[in-house]
Symmetry: D2
Subunit: 346 residues, 4 copies
């Protein structure tokens, strides 16, 4: 008996990537794909690489047959997802929400960082943060999972071990992140025009990006410390990929060798199939199209810093891949089912 899924909001990059993964997933079927702006149109007319593969018609979310579904993926912008969570608060199916609407600890923090009123605050307590490396038990029994942000996924997995172990001064962490252009979404904006992104590179949202608080809250909750993170996102001239370069100053009195550091990472992520502790600094192309997070931690004895490189594919481990990973856990499947992919490189 396969898991019957639907994708709500399938015209974006995340929706398209979910469709790819679900179509190839041995234990899932794609019962419905919705789009309010393109309803009535074939999915493959919006995403032509699905021609002949996913030709079913996009429908309105109002036409969804609730009773026929086991799982719904909300691939919607923040501020929109919450309406569907409200609508389906008592539905029989499970929900993985890929937006930012339920990732933070409480509605107040949400409203402060997202500058938006939250219209369904009651659901915060029902959501589990869907980072399987840390919350797999909670995810297994959750009805609703808030899929992590792309930058936070790379930042949290990279920084967690050194904060948890008390190796670095957690109140002055620097996380310098670089993301491919799909992170900005599919909507036509002057800032993501080809000729604006190509041959270019720039920082944005310095000091005030919403993912900052997500990183701090999750790292803090999981390590029982209160990290302060200087997070700076940059826009890379690539389609996919996030690389975070994480800097922590080694605490006074702490002695740690490179080998010991690597061992800590290997132990922390032992048994987690999608985290690879690499022997050389990884490039984003080495995880492209996969659900891997590649980590490369290193000690600089000259400066007294630990530097960690963390890479993911923002549409996979940073969005759709992690959502399917969460779904696998929620339905008792093997973690890697449908996700045993190899990077498309070059």
């Amino acid at each position: 008996m396969k898991i019957r899924t639907a994708i709500i909001g399938a015209t974006g990059f995340t929706g398209s990537e979910l469709a790819r993964l679900i179509t190839l997933h041995p234990s899932m079927t794609l019962e419905a794909i919705t789009s309010e702006s393109s309803k009535g149109v074939k999915f493959s007319a919006v995403h032509p690489h699905f021609f002949g593969l996913v030709d079913q018609k996009l429908i309105s979310a109002t036409e969804i047959d609730d009773s026929g579904l086991d799982l719904v993926f909300l691939a919607l912008p923040h501020g929109v997802s919450m309406n569907y969570v409200k609508k389906w608060k008592d539905a029989d199916f499970k929900i993985v929400d890929l937006s930012g609407d339920y990732r933070l600890a409480d509605p107040e923090t949400y409203e402060k960082w997202y500058q938006k009123e939250h219209i369904f605050k009651e659901a915060f307590s029902s959501f589990v943060y869907g980072l399987p490396e840390f919350f797999s038990e909670e995810i297994k029994s959750a009805r609703m999972v808030a899929n992590p942000g792309c930058y936070p996924t790379s930042a949290i997995l990279g920084a967690y071990p050194i904060i948890k172990e008390g190796l670095v001064e957690s109140d002055r962490l620097v996380i310098d992140s670089k993301s491919g252009a799909t992170g900005a979404g599919i909507k036509a904006k002057s800032g993501t025009l080809y000729s604006q992104v190509n041959e270019n590179f720039n920082a944005y949202a310095i000091g005030n990006h919403r993912h900052t608080i997500e990183i701090e809250q999750i790292l803090g909750g999981k390590t029982k410390r209160s990290p302060t993170v200087q997070f700076t996102p940059h826009l890379l001239p690539t389609d996919r990929g996030i690389l975070s370069t994480i800097y922590g100053g080694i605490k006074n009195g702490v002695k740690i060798s490179n080998e010991e550091l690597i061992t800590i990472y290997k132990i922390t992520y032992s048994g987690h199939p999608f985290v690879r502790i690499r022997e050389e600094a990884p490039g984003i192309k080495e995880v492209r199209g996969t659900n891997y997070c590649d980590l490369y931690p290193t000690v600089d004895p000259r400066t007294g810093n630990i530097i960690v490189i963390s890479t993911i594919d923002n549409l996979m481990k940073g969005a759709a891949g992690q959502a399917v990973h969460n779904a696998n856990l929620m339905f008792g499947l093997k973690e890697t089912e449908g996700l045993d992919l190899i990077s498309l490189k070059p």
Copy 2:
């Protein structure tokens, strides 16, 4: 019982792509990977995206245990492959040769167009040209298959119906092709340096590219006509992808509508799972990472020409994907086994 395969020459892009496909193939195992230049090194040290996935050591081809193999893929440059064909002429395993050494009709043509002496001419008669859309019966019973060139695959599939049906003047076909940079191989050359290819675009080998004769011979043999092809390859600033724009002048007296033309293409490729007749002009990104050849034929009544757009991924349908397709046929598997992939877009 799985098919035991080996890849001979695995440091290039084609070898890496074969490793990806075989690793994910439900009915194949990868028993050995060879490299003379990197023997003793892990495969994943040469291609780091395989870290944790294909970590087996590269061996010399001389260390291969012949008896343990069902199938060998020769992923070698032309001029090198023939040595292995000679060495293994009586071996028990089957061979798919991805080089140009046995694609042409006879050694004389080879020596003229490749400017190289052929050292094992006897094998020409044993090879079948591995374009499954046209030669699937021969491939099924072949011991040795010459996998088609990348440009010829796109050109032949695109041009065949209009020549076969006698719609266009076959002695003045224009095939204007554009290929991503992986077509030039992995070897460091000044012409394929990043800063040479990026933001650039140029034609090369005008009038004398080796694939010209391959296109003419195969099209000629299959249609019983003698096409003359003006083939011009160009280098695109992308990793993958070939797009061929094919121009044929409609013969005097021939009347053909756009709908009729499309019907001819649909009939010709009916039952061939990897050819898609598209309703809009396809881009190379829509077949990236897949074994599809997307075709878009159109009539221009104003000029009296037929224009056909043909797109493939040069490393897939133009190399490794087609090789696995051939292998599936040679071993009686389902044609699409291990190849039911969806384009990684964006």
Copy 3:
């Protein structure tokens, strides 16, 4: 005494490139830059690379002080330019119109190919087609110049000699052109999003692009023949550059060697400083940022075709550079003044 110029419509790529050229031009000043959508804003706020260099405020075209100007560049979309031509039909300044509104022979052809009513047909007879290599005398005495389209510039300069000399069958010319993404303009459209263009390549407007008729009319008028052109534009994943690959079948009875062909091109463009007859096939990066058109003609004796490669920078020789070249001629300056640039490569 410097030539006082204004740019009407300066928020696009062409307007920005004109501002670059005029600012650096020894004999021109930039008196005004207009934008209806961004009036009141600094030019450098719209195009930040001009920060500290061109900080003057954008004004509305209605605020222009006509009496203070010698020359106006209309850097507007087709359909908009004609309104300004009408408004300024009796103004004292000269006009270079970079749109397509007055490039064609007559309003009827315009309305057919542009699918748009022409609201100021009277001006057609006053405009000179601004291709300096062919119409320099007319340009010198013109009040109004229609700056050629980008594709037509590359196509006409490349194809003219072989048609003029009667070498090829002019009724079956194939012009396969590839352009960088700036050709599509600065407006945010889903088709020119970074992730749509990057790693992609596709043909568009097959058989019906508006530049087809411009190519045919100008080539026809200048050669006294009636060429029929199969023109296919493609979108390259680069910012700038057009490369046209031009195919002509050598007429029966004509004998021409490669050397003779090159000589014809050298003679035709002798004395024209912006056409370079190259000894090897040029890439688009070799003309980037310059006003050059690089040509590479070649004979293929095997097939009986002539192939000509023609490259330009679409924003320079295909737009702003050619406009300044025209302005130089209109005001009796040296042709190359302000345009003696060297390609920014890499």
Copy 4:
């Protein structure tokens, strides 16, 4: 009377960029261009975008006529330059060395960080560090100038004001830098192949890049402090451009507003025509092809850090442009002569 210059080693990107600048420079002539590997060949055969513009033959450095020169640019790899400095230690012309051979304080530091014996240590004391914003007086009277490294130029200009003013803890500076691929040179290497760099991004030389010590020594000498710098270079999939994101922790007790910080930067670089203090975070494309260093300093009161974005074109302000700037100073020309360029964007 023009300044007669020569470029020693003109086959690389820096040599080509120097040729572009000198050719366009009103007060310089290019008397000789040398290459040991390509002597006898036209410069435009090596760099085809110079076709028709710089067609002079490359000669061996041994053929140089010393007496005819005023200035020699050494555009050579480190370890090679020193030989020419030795050879020409008593020559009549001045020297700008673009390699790393004489940038550091002493031969011992050089040998430690460059892992190479220095064969002409005597010249260290004769060299002036050619960063005009800090050493213009020394440069004006120097015979030999060591042109700064590309990363150090962006890092030093960005970090200097906050260290000089004692705003941040200088012993824990983080400089996260990203450079386009031309920084790796023109030599064919597998790491700079198109398909390796394209769609990729990675860190390298973490904790041990040679530019680290150059940054520390120059910053230290100029500010009379002893900064410790955690410098991490990354490889961007672009041709040109460096963006450094600089992080400093505000010292205990220091109070600084964003406006005050910007004022400090404006005062520090007042009168320096190539440093622009930007009002928004700059992208590398906004300085492409120019000699500008664009700086964007900002305070994050939440975290207590100062973040400075610093962008340059690595081949211009990071190499050839700065070399010409130095030459202008050495010969009493206007600082901006030949360098009043506007970015080629897009």
